[in-house]
Symmetry: D2
Subunit: 380 residues, 4 copies
């Protein structure tokens, strides 16, 4: 399979996630970084691009310039996909332009900051037929795929109760006041659109939907800004009613907080079904804990015997050789690559713009519920 | 200190918790089991009492008989305290009779099934001056006491977020249909008054209040009966707003479920403050995990150096020699004993009728909120 | 079953293990503490006895006095068993006297300080027909019994490799210089007979033999006294060759150290067979980890479904309600009690004087091997 | 820094470790894969090379051909370093040829199968001035580097006791009979030179030396072939006496076994010093457990505050985003790259041929000791 030539928007020096995307593509092995508009000012953008190894003429000053210039290049050489890793408020415009110019798009989560933008992008992607991925990267972990397969395959019976927590501590103080770049934009309502719910809550929501296959019927949220003067919520608790499936209306609790001292990147989920349970923790991602109604707890290991095809396909190393965050991220990119190349029979499992729209609706519904002081809200 | 002579109501053959109370008192060492009305019929009651080692004449047929007969005995010999371990609907009446007859009372949780009964008992206990304990036994664990001391002492700053879960799996199927005694009464609305919220949710609520020192301002609950035909809720998710303290209105999420396959008796709590975190898990009760804003996670060990006086006092063995459930329960009894004997300077830390009333109000508020389909309810 | 009347030798104020023995017997419930000679001087001994709740006339000044006086009492009232919890050098003499006077004996480990004494006691016990237990208490844990049942039942195939570690840190400094009583006698060659090997190594050796059913063929040991000026070894590593069984000569590694900072009472064992593995850790004693040649790791829980009769019989509480050290110790006492009362069909599983002799031989063999600078020594 | 052009010997289709080396170099980002002789026959070798993405003319049939052809290329274009990932018996010859032709060498462990070859290579590397790395990759983990820094910096005092275990289960059955390639050569004495000691024991030995800075004075080993008919040891227990340092002669126990069902790649180490302890486990590599003489256990997290410069430099992602095996491996390659490019002030921490020689001597000494039925052997 030929490498996919991609251009990146965002991902310059102070970016955290841009470098992760590039490492994931390097690990996947089927991607070629050909151009970029990595920073917010033309000079910095060009300098960042060259520093990241791009030829000077394809280290563009702005993303509009990049899309225009690349559109004019020889098809055998121009970029095929655009990877967008800017702050949330700068997702929709370049995504739209990229789609209109016929490129595939990979966009970091959340898809964008308004439901309206999200829906317009979804419609546009449908029209153009482009591949449009939203990097809910945690669904790339092999043991998450194993969990999904087991739940969808009925191994724990109809789902009744979901507990999903995403807790971090890095925003427990007013880090944005120190000028830290990540904190600055992520706590700025104009740039982030939302706080903990948008930054991490939506990962939790996607993970719950991914593993269970359930859709969210309504949410009841309580959101707070604990750090004085912060413009976005830094903590939220959400009750969830999932849509009925197999005659059961599952209930969920979702917690998203960034003011939890000592928590690093603690995404964990427990899914309780009628006859069993699956549990996974992102910080020890190599195992999946499975219980039945009785008998011993079973711990399944990545790479071990008896895992499903999806988990095996997402595995690069033997058991006991920890893979990790970049490996999972690379699995998302592998799915995107297969979709772009239309590989028959290949792994096409990646989060799509449909997931992206769902995520934006979830965030809005939670914020609505919280603002109304307690009301069940259907995300739509 | 002379042993306290106690009589037990309930705790016959099929009881789980009665035997635990007796073992806890044996381990504490300051209690003498002198009489009882252990079962629901006079014959069984007498037989159970003799089997449990009571002299035949003090193995009573009914609790009314016991209270009357013991009241007539020589004060140097008659029972001093009544331990009530019957199903929830049979707490209030014997407790009231015992108070009126001048006895101290130890009552299993929840205190009773209605707020009205709870408040009447509280008033009565105030009048009689009797000691009245409600066995929220998890507050007897040394590392829970350490957690409380650290939080109250400001070591993690004002509390912002509490996560408390109590999950069990034993009621994931309709166990009550098999005739299992524990399941029978605990899922019977008439006898239990409530389901998961009353059986275990109230433990979680007490633990959260005990460690944080916070009072609950309002609750928003979603409760379900997942097992078809069950008359009480077997699963609940609760959002909590605590009353303001130190200028912060902490938020909580409480989960109580008994339909979680693979979960045994999984009570766990994380308390996130402005500057740190404490976390405890009942199934590995010997340690307390403490985090600050930065630096390593610290794991404190029962019996280890540097623990507070309360944790040291609640400890019987050196570190690394696991104590456990009965040891924690015995610590509650030690507090009750000190209170009854009015030992100056002794450990008087035990859950009182005040906690019992709070628990009953919490259960009612959650059920109200759930019934109203989502509303913030002040437990009062 | 009538309570067994016991007298205790040792176990006064500064004793750690005496109080544990008494708590274990209280928890078991079938024992009555009727007399004692708890301390090393007559006055302290009497005072300690009264303080421990004995009637003044049976709080003896010395153990010789106790044995003589009790022998003269009415058989319906005199003690039936002697519990010896003195330092190691004071085990053999009272044990011998107790046997000669017709009493049953429970002796803390190690049985005594010389192989000669051990063998003489074993012969004497055989002659008198007395029950003689040596409290290798870790074999009382339910999940250790489950491990034994599984290994002896062939569930992991013939055993190939055993790893057993017992590590503590309390003697990492010269604690004996501070006057701490436990450190004083345990590091005194005259009173303890050996250091880490005798104090904890022998527990590890018994646990390995208990779970595997294997006998030790020879040992190769390296022992050190890391704390300057200490008269006994405080650290040892031992290679073990077990006697052939099922055509396989299993190999073992045993580590016993008391100079491991941060380790509390860390006894852990892994037994690897041809087709599976069992692993247990004393500080989290409620679970047993079991692996096969492939498939998931299984975690078995105390009190859970599917455990063997021996594990179930050793269990007092439902799963998830941690039992612990005293509960396991009480199980040893229950076995002893059944043996003394000759209960047909009862649990008779307790470590006998045979195990005690084996332990003393193991200690001697290791010290011999170490002294000889490396030689395989058969403990005999 | 310009990419380093490398050629690979071995690493074709059935290879496990070759692909890991290439992924590690991709993740490091400073390497360019320009040529190879990946398989054992010319055709397969060429086909493998093309499949791996090499241009046909640099997909060589044999390593001799590769070294000769590359030596003749323009210096600006020819390979600079040779990466050797063949079975153990095919390390020495290509390494020697590569050195003689002036190339740098990266060789998988163990360096080779005889001490004589090892020493000759060491002398040759000294003469040529080439960089020669041996991929003891576990020393690339950030938290291993933190452990080393803490121990060498005196934070746990002089080391007294080391416990290091490397246990795997994949060779518990006669896997070599199924034709599995990895099992075939690793259990073949002619190709592997040794069994568990050479394959994984030497990793454990290196890790212990790396973290403690101690040299091994003598070893006492017991080695077995548990699987009938296997020509190499599949299990070994080793007592170690380290050379004196700071007045203390530390003792070690090393276990290397490949017949442990349920163990995947379980390398773990505990280092006990006079005043503290560090502990690390490869399967959960993100944390380091540190204890002092008293107080809480501290768990340090990769990426967290307060880590040493070496650990920070070896880190690519924020805490809580698991890195893993390939990341650690890439850190080794980064050190090699810096050494080749002679970057001033850069991280030059990588295992050298000196470590490789030490490893081969250790394996020989253990096998000697075991063959002699128990003798302390100085590896030299």
């Amino acid at each position: 399979m030929r490498c996919i030539r991609y251009g990146m928007i965002g991902g310059g020096k102070d970016s955290f996630i841009g470098a992760v995307h590039r490492a994931a593509m390097r690990l996947d092995g089927g991607w070629s970084f050909v151009c970029g508009a990595l920073s917010s000012t033309p000079e910095k953008s060009k300098a960042s691009g060259v520093e990241a190894g791009l030829p000077a003429e394809r280290a563009y000053g702005t993303w509009t310039e990049m899309i225009e210039a690349e559109s004019g290049r020889d098809p055998a050489d121009r970029m095929e996909a655009v990877v967008i890793v800017t702050p949330n408020d700068l997702h929709a415009a370049p995504a739209e332009a990229a789609l209109r110019a016929g490129f595939h798009v990979v966009c970091d989560k959340p898809l964008c900051t308004t439901v309206e933008d999200a829906e317009r992008l979804e419609g546009l992607a449908r029209e153009t037929g482009s591949v449009f991925a939203v990097t809910y990267n945690y669904s790339g972990y092999p043991m998450v795929r194993q969990a999904r397969r087991m739940v969808l395959g009925g191994e724990i019976g109809p789902v009744r109760r979901v507990l999903v927590e995403y807790t971090q501590g890095w925003l427990a103080t007013k880090l944005e006041e120190t000028g830290q770049k990540q904190a600055l934009w992520r706590t700025d309502p104009a740039r982030a659109g939302a706080g903990a719910l948008g930054d991490i809550g939506t990962h939790a929501e996607h993970l719950a939907r991914y593993i269970t296959g359930l859709e969210i019927g309504s949410v009841m949220a309580d959101a707070s800004s604990f750090v004085p003067g912060r413009g976005v919520e830094d903590d939220a608790g959400v009750l969830i009613r999932f849509k009925e499936k197999d005659g059961v209306s599952a209930r969920g609790v979702l917690v998203a907080t960034q003011i939890a001292p000592g928590r690093r990147n603690d995404l964990r989920i427990s899914v309780f079904g009628e006859t069993g349970t699956v549990e996974w923790h992102q910080e020890t991602p190599e195992s999946l804990v499975v219980s039945g109604l009785d008998g011993p707890t079973r711990v399944l290991h990545r790479g071990g015997d008896g895992l499903c095809a999806e988990a095996r396909a997402a595995t690069r190393l033997p058991p006991g050789h920890p893979e990790g965050f970049v490996g999972a991220f690379a699995n998302i990119y592998r799915g995107v690559r297969s979709a772009i190349r239309r590989s028959p029979g290949a792994d096409l499992d990646y989060p799509t713009i449909h997931d992206g729209v769902r995520g934006v609706r979830f965030i809005r519904a939670c914020l609505d519920s919280a603002r109304r002081g307690g009301a069940w809200v259907d995300p739509g």
